[in-house]
Symmetry: none
Subunit: 217 residues, 4 copies
DNA sequence: TATGAATGAGATTTCATTCAT
DNA sequence: TATGAATGAAATCTCATTCAT
């Protein structure tokens, strides 16, 4: 994290591969160090190309950061869309979605870090991106469908709203990953310790279902 | 956020006030811009003293940031400790604690931002602080006490552990505040919009109680 | 020494020349003002490039200073090695070496100043350099050879040791150059005044030979 | 050398003692770090008084440095004057003086360091001091007397001049102390190692006498 | 398409010194 | 006599970016 392993100089004549390499290096550098903390030189060093290439392909540090963000969100939503939750009974669909979010965050903490970073910057890069909004609203429509079915069947409370449920599903999963370091330091116990995983995963699911299946006061 | 209002030059001979002014300005600058993004000059400009005083009292940019962190955590835990939850019945205690966490995060988003920022830096400043660990573990012992009482009364599931419950309580409350900007941008709806507040607050409480009152599978 | 002649801006694309120019300017600035007293800005101004290039090529003020030291020692030892003293009779070899050391210090007082400066810093930069040790021990092996020959021929006392003789040869030559200013001020007479030179040069040689040719008590 | 031991706060009502304490601390700080490298704050910290006192008593950093220099030179010359060399036969006088210079430098390396430092600054502080010149010329008149006697007795060569002989006596003694660090690092052997001392001391004496007793070519 | 060299603007930090009591 | 607080000027160093080939 401190000393960047200088990749062997790459003399590829394959522009796509160069772009790919830059994006990969940038994801690491940005998620490790934040936007302000990331160093353009470090990304170049990690890539094996030199700094000029970053400007050639991505225009600026911000442009590269934006590309990284877009790619990460797209990958996440693509995986989510592959779940085919509308085929499942409502409670089962919520369970599967929650487990997916839990697993996704746990498997790749860089995603949660990038989201934190982008929020420090007030989401101005996402706002400027254009592709983002369309990309992400699908999750809300998916949840809305599940909720509607559950409510129609009398299984879910009727005052639940889709965005709120999305927050509820994601909050816990995100929190333990994104804030792993402060939590681990303060409490002397890494919240991502393997032996905690199964219990936490159950908590995620059962708190959401617990909420949905509670009668409104 | 962009143009720093240059405070009138303060020629106070009151060192405590000077330190206070620096800390206040630093909280704003750090929580607005992150550690790397914050500018020492901007903090000084907001203070009315000059940059030199920051180094006089806090030694370095990092030292000042550490002081800000410590102060914020201390304030939060002090408020929390004032709740006197052990006097309440278990479910009520959980409800009050959750509402407190919800309200605290909602009332002062800077705290959640600072926590995000510190996690980007892998909590290295908290780790170096010393006062942090003792300060924060009390919340876990409090939760442990509530859980034990609830479990003894047969109200709470027996496989709940205190740190996990803390994460569950805080995750949702933190998430909607800290990630307000990406969520608002992506979904076209500010998650902190006033009309959502009551519903979210209920969600926070009822998901936790829903989990605790579910029988383990 | 006070007003640095701003070199004309050099827009050469010749990195070796740029490095050379920086090194030359640095030698002057460091030997004039010491390590702490030298100003990176002043070096840049003398060079015609800007400050950034110093960091580009040498990493830090210390790094540049180290490079200057290495270069000066290397130049001196190279000149010394060119003397081919092992071809001469022992006393003649000592004479030639002493004259060389005398002349070298007199011709370039900056060298002695740099050595003084480095000693104020406890030789920490030389210690970190790596190339230094190997570079300099050759002078000791040379002296050892000369002494051995002289002792074998019964010309030199047998209790002389090579490092000690090196100190003896260099001490006087160094002292009058390095401490020229205090000596000149205190005694009202510049010890490097041209009319003193021949006499001092003889003193250097004859004190060393006088010692070597004295019978041990 | 790095972390200055903060002396206990001294609340003396004795101005002379305060001045003394500042001078002592300053000698250490200046001889350790050079004039540019010395820190006024560090001197104050070492003294137990605060920075303001330095300005109160010595006017400026330079003024304090000048006071340190004067005191060190005065102490040295006083010790030298106490030798009463004119009572001794010429060769014996030279021997005693050389041994004194050797021992003095070896016993207090700070003196040689200060001399080096002052020469880096071109002796401008000594020049400004006024008391220095008169203080130091006595050593030359002493040597002149010894030489005259020795020459009159036909023991010493007739082309020896007093300042030159002073340089010869001091050069070796100074060199091994002042440049201890570079020599030790380069040759892997501390020139002040105790087992070398006697031999070096003999070398100092015998090289000077060797020179003086050689017939001019 | 690719690249090493170069840079200006601005960041953090240092330091001798003075203010106000 | 003594002192803690304060400061302006200047130092070193960083960094995204562009030049020139």
């Amino acid at each position: 994290m401190d000393d960047i392993p200088a990749a062997p100089p790459r003399r590829s004549r394959d522009p796509a591969a160069t772009q790919r390499a830059i994006l990969d290096a940038a994801l690491i550098e940005f998620s490790d160090n934040g936007l302000s903390g990331a160093r353009v030189d470090a990304i170049a060093a990690r890539t094996g190309t030199n700094v000029r290439m970053i400007y050639y392909y991505f225009g600026s540090k911000d442009g590269l950061y934006r590309a990284v963000l877009e790619q990460c969100y797209a990958a996440m939503r693509a995986a989510e869309a592959a779940l085919r939750l509308d085929a499942l009974p409502p409670a089962e669909a919520i369970r599967r979605m929650t487990e997916f979010v839990f697993d996704y965050h746990a498997a790749d903490p860089r995603f949660a870090r990038l989201v934190s970073i982008e929020n420090i910057h007030r989401a101005e890069h996402i706002a400027r991106s254009g592709t983002m909004q369309g990309l992400n609203v699908t999750v809300i429509t998916t949840i809305a469908g599940i909720l509607a079915r559950g409510q129609a069947e009398g299984l879910f409370r009727t005052d639940a709203d889709p965005i709120g449920v999305h927050l509820l599903i994601t909050g816990f999963c995100f929190f333990r990953v994104a804030n792993r370091y402060t939590l681990g330091t303060i409490f002397g116990k890494d919240p991502l310790a393997p032996e905690l995983r199964d219990n936490h995963r159950r908590m995620a699911v059962e708190s959401v279902l617990g909420y949905l299946q509670t009668l409104p006061a």
